[in-house]
Amino acid sequence: MKTLLEVDNLTVRFSLRAGEITAVDQVDFKLQEGERFGLVGESGAGKSVTGFALINLISKPGYIAGGSVRFQGNELTALTDEQIRRVRGNDICMIFQDPMMTLNPVLTIGTQMVETLQAHRSISTKEAKRAAVETLRKVQIPSPERRLRQYPHELSGGMRQRVVIAVALITSPSLIIADEPTTALDVTIQAEIMALLLSLCKDENMGLILITHDLAVVSQVTQRIAVMYAGRIVEVGATDDIVKHPRHPYTIGLLSALPQNKPRGQRLDQIRGVMPTLLDIPPGCPFNERCDRAQEICRRQRPGLEWKQHGGRVACHFVE
């Protein structure tokens, strides 16, 4: 298998009036071609910022402070504006959380699909429309020809997200970054959209980075996951292994907060406290104030993300 994406020590900072914050702190992970990878963590953990940093779409006051993103052998952080534009939406496509907010309200579905294809290929509008209809069919949207003339608000939430998926598919990318793709949707259609995304990734052998706070979703779709906390990855490994045998105290806490891991009627365990804001992350391990196992060393020394005996990587002093 070939490596698709290699992220090394990726660091993103924001220069805010209140001070400099590190929203993504030395993140590294790898993705094979066609692999589905989950990025999990509480809201504010830095998942979305990581996703945008991969395609170098961090705008002021943020900036990529260091690290590298190698995609199919090319260093993306070193590309010119025009070169990275050709990667975005072409080789790497993004799906955002709320399709009502992501689709432009004054442009038809057709325009928004055609322009995407034309941004990356020299192709006539007629041909691009044909490709758009075909792609809409792939995401199981009924009467696709008619949809091209419709505006986003004429579609239901589920249909809109299918359109967004179609926009991503139309250029046949090798990687899709889906940032909470079902969070804004009705519960009843969340599973439908997730299943569609999964089957499309399998069919077209596309890599997927699924960003979510929902461990249940990620465990059904991905092969490997990284757990993020306060801008850092605290645990990476095979999804099955992490879900069954979480090692990092934070991962353990997240999993025991899931209803399916508890017999009915028993109280769910919430991790005590809240994630610190990025302006006051404690020294040492960022999780130490909420951790039951925290010792003196945890307040002094930050644990590195290291290979452990079980074959995964964990950032904790107490995992062997």
């Binding site: 779409l57 955002f96 432009n104 004054v106």
Partner: protein, 325 residues
Amino acid sequence: MFAFSVRRVAQAVLVMFVISFIGFAIKYAVGDPVRDLVGISVSVEEREKVREQLGLNDPFVVQWARFLQKAMQGDLGMSYFFKRPATDVILKKAPATLELVICSSFIVILVSIPVGIFAAVRPNSWLSRFLMGASIVGVSIPVFLTAIVLIYIFAVELHWLPSYGRGETQMLWGVWDSGLATADGLQHLILPSIALSSIMLPLFIRLIRAEMKEVLETEYIKYARAKGIAPWRVLIVHAFKNTLLPVITVGGVQLGTMIAFTVLTETVFQWQGMGFVFLEAVERGDTSLLVAYLVFVGAVFVVVNTVVDIVYGLVNPMVRIASRS
């Protein structure tokens, strides 16, 4: 869309009805059509006879109905000073004013859109700061001062442009007395148009900048960038198109203000348009002419606003759908 347009036109007719009422009320209250007809040197008895003949002793409502009926046929009474139908006098002067307003609108559109977009995209550049500062100063300078300064610099000192009048005009299609058709006419248009546009420019620059800034922060703009859409297309097609709705709305309303300001501009530049004639009519107590001006300007305003609303409907898919169902 069709139903929406019909509804909008019906509203416009209603507004015209109200305007005609106001016009008639003015005429009824201050006008003296007998004087308009026979002059001042006629005896009281004779005047009373003429009043009776003209139906001026009829009840208000009857007279209003008569006024409406005539107005519908374009008859708004005789101008006491010009001894001609007031409608004719106004219509003859209309092209001058309309050309002035149209040219000023073009200046506003051509300048405020690029400047507003630039100031939104580069809010921290020194040029943006300068333009924003200048626009604050711009709002607070009255038109007649702008006009006088323009005349002083470009006409008196530099001798580049004429300082007053319409210059050489040419009759188009037999009805439209145009200054746009001759080089001399165009030269005469420049200073008055700039002076008139100066009241609207700061407002529109600031409006477009504010709207653009807001739109540029939205998810769909970030999404467009994530799709690899070219920067110019993100700016114009994705962002600017979304600012168009509020800009068109404000534009429609401000056009009325602009017509009002033509009275000042035309006076300073001795521009032989409706505004100029209107001021004269006020001085001479020429009520019919005054009312004709009011009704005509009201009509222009109503037509423009109706067109703006329909264009708004074309730009805004939401309105289009709402009217479809």
